[in-house]
């Protein structure tokens, strides 16, 4: 594990230094990322210009859900978002090169072309979170702060696991980055809104199959002090770290299988 962190730091560091030689490009890239993700939230603000509540939630409550999910996706994208380019790496042979170096292949895949401009989404989510924390009707207790922090960490882990699974899937199915995108960016869009607007089947799916509901929905219900509209058990509100651990273990197993089943390309 220490070896993996060290490897990541070395490779990511080299790319950060390389990016800093083009400082203007880096600053512009980060600002553009921030603006693009902000436009995303602007759409929700405009929507609330016409309605009071959406799915039974006010704008500040939705902002809390939005921010936790956005932070998780942003952190996952910064750390392992590069896994979605694995199909290309397999085709151009650079994945073969990674397999003959003394650092775990996943670490190299994740750290290669590490781009700090991806901090843009994290910055935007943090800004929305700061506003939601003060504006939403929350009775702040130590327990609620702990659940919030745990949700942000668990959300990052869950989205990271999806990125890794998406990468592993490309070992079997060639270039299929879009499949993973459906669950990462798609999952983020889905969890930006309260799950009350979706059919029950979908809510069960994102609870028991792809644990997206644990990113922000269940911990969000606890922080906001709302009873589960679907009548699911209350302990789910504290289960995000467990869901994240189970899911990341599954992702690790799938990744290892993918590397063992890897066929490389011709020549």
């Amino acid at each position: 594990m220490a070896e993996a962190v060290r490897g990541f730091a070395i490779i990511a560091g080299a790319w950060m230094r390389a990016a800093m030689t083009y400082r203007t490009s880096f600053v512009l890239g980060t600002v553009v990322q921030f603006v693009i993700t902000f436009m995303d939230f602007a759409a929700i603000i405009i929507m609330f210009g016409h309605i009071e509540a959406f799915g039974g939630f006010s704008i500040s409550e939705i902002a809390l859900l939005y921010a936790i999910s956005g932070f998780g996706l942003g952190a996952a994208d910064l750390l392992v978002g590069n896994a979605e380019a694995l199909g290309r790496r397999i085709r151009d042979g650079s994945f073969d090169q990674m397999l003959v170096r003394p650092v775990p292949a996943l670490v190299q895949v994740a750290a290669d072309h590490f781009a700090l401009r991806r901090l843009g989404r994290i910055a935007q989510s943090s800004a929305v979170l700061a506003w939601a924390m003060s504006a939403a009707p929350i009775d702040w207790t130590v327990a609620r702060v702990v659940v919030l922090v745990a949700a942000m960490a668990s959300g990052s882990v869950i989205f990271s696991a999806i990125f890794v699974m998406g990468g592993a899937f490309q070992v079997f199915a060639g270039d299929a980055a879009e499949v993973a995108n459906a669950f990462t960016y798609g999952g983020n869009t889905l969890t930006q809104y309260p799950l009350t607007i979706y059919p029950t089947e979908l809510v069960k799916g994102v609870t028991f199959i792809v644990p997206l509901a644990f990113v922000n929905w269940y911990p969000g219900l606890y922080i906001l002090g709302i009873d589960d509209p679907f009548g699911l058990p209350d302990w789910l509100r504290f289960a995000s770290p467990v869901a994240a651990l189970v899911f990341v273990a599954a992702a690790a197993a799938i990744w290892r299988t993918a590397v063992r089943r890897y066929r490389s390309t011709g020549s």
Binding site: G7, I10, I11, A14, R17, A18, D92, G93, S94, D96, Q97, L99, V100, R101, P102, V103, P104, D112, H113, R260, R261, Y262, R263, S264, G266, S267
Partner: protein, 316 residues
């Protein structure tokens, strides 16, 4: 000499889906490597040749741990490559001729710096190795250039230096001279020869070019359809295979068939004659004898193609 690579009954199959009709697909097994066995001693330089699709690259990918074998036993530097891939990585250097192990967008120097840290090469060793490799491979003027701006020959030299920064005991080269010009090829072969004799690095070289083997390796293994069909010395390969070199001679005017000891005329077309001699023998006496003629205008030597050598092995 102790064995550094042990291969026993190594196999690798790929299942391939073939389309039979619009909806029906058929799976069938392709045996890329079909039970090969050999040992390499520490410090050997071995050429590994065979036609396209014979299983050369598949073997190398199993030896480096990239591919998991379907069967057989495999040890490199005492390790099972695919199970202990990252550990094995410190002992081996790998150069894929068609690809680069460098970072396309980073200057050459940064790529090396990064590799040095990934392999945990101690600073003094790194500095010494880099200086030596930059000197031997003539990389000085290229260090500040991004890899994408390098020519094929420059990049190949850059890649070889990258594979040697951590002092590997084994160097695998997959088609290192493909696409290089004559001068670059000659320099590269000389470098590999010196690396093998002076540093004692074990070299396994796959190639299409028999000259690579002749100038770098003392031992040749020939693979065809996933099986080893020859394992021995280079001269023995030519003796057993009976492959022949051709000397093409251009004379001032058409004459009767030339009479040169050790060679026979195989074809005549006006003032041009083709002389054939065993590939295992030296061509120098033949060239010298021809050079003594005053009606000689031009002369060139054609090496036997790898496919011919292999065909000859089968028909011996």
């Amino acid at each position: 000499m102790s064995a550094i690579i042990e291969v026993d009954g190594l196999r690798r199959t790929f299942s391939v889906r073939r389309r039979r009709s619009r909806f029906r697909r058929e799976r069938h097994e392709v045996r890329a490597v079909d039970g090969i066995s050999f040992e390499l001693g520490a410090g050997e330089a071995v050429g590994y040749i065979g036609p396209n699709g014979a299983g050369k690259s598949t073997t190398v990918k199993m030896l480096t741990g990239i591919l998991v074998p379907s069967g057989g036993r495999l040890r490199v530097a005492g390790l099972d490559p695919s199970a202990r891939r990252t550990e094995l990585a410190r002992h081996i250097g790998v150069v894929f001729g068609q690809r680069t192990g460098l970072w396309w967008d980073l200057p050459l120097r940064d790529s090396y710096e990064l590799l040095g840290r990934i392999y945990r090469v101690p600073r003094p060793t790194y500095d010494a190795n880099l200086e030596r490799l930059v000197d031997l491979l003539d990389l000085g003027p290229l260090l500040e250039q991004p890899v994408r701006q390098l020519s094929l020959g420059q990049r190949m030299r850059g890649d070889i230096a990258a594979a040697l920064l951590h002092d590997p005991t084994i160097l695998y080269l997959d088609e290192p001279t493909i696409g290089l010009d004559v001068m670059s090829k000659a320099k590269l072969r000389q470098f590999l020869r010196e690396l093998n004799t002076e540093s004692g690095t074990t070299i396994l070289l796959t190639t299409h070019d028999l000259v690579d083997i002749e100038q770098v390796c003392r031992r040749v293994m020939v693979i065809d359809h996933g099986r080893l069909v020859f394992d021995g010395g280079f001269e023995q390969l030519h003796r057993e295979g009976g492959a022949r070199r051709t000397v093409v001679v251009d004379l001032a005017a058409p004459t009767e068939p030339l009479s040169v000891p050790g060679a026979t005329v195989s074809r005549i077309d006006g003032p041009r004659q083709w002389l054939s001699l065993p590939a295992g023998a030296s061509s120098a006496p033949v060239v010298a004898a021809l050079g003594a003629r005053d009606d000689l205008i031009d002369l060139s030597i054609q090496e036997p193609a790898i496919e011919d050598v292999i065909t000859a092995l089968y028909t011996r």
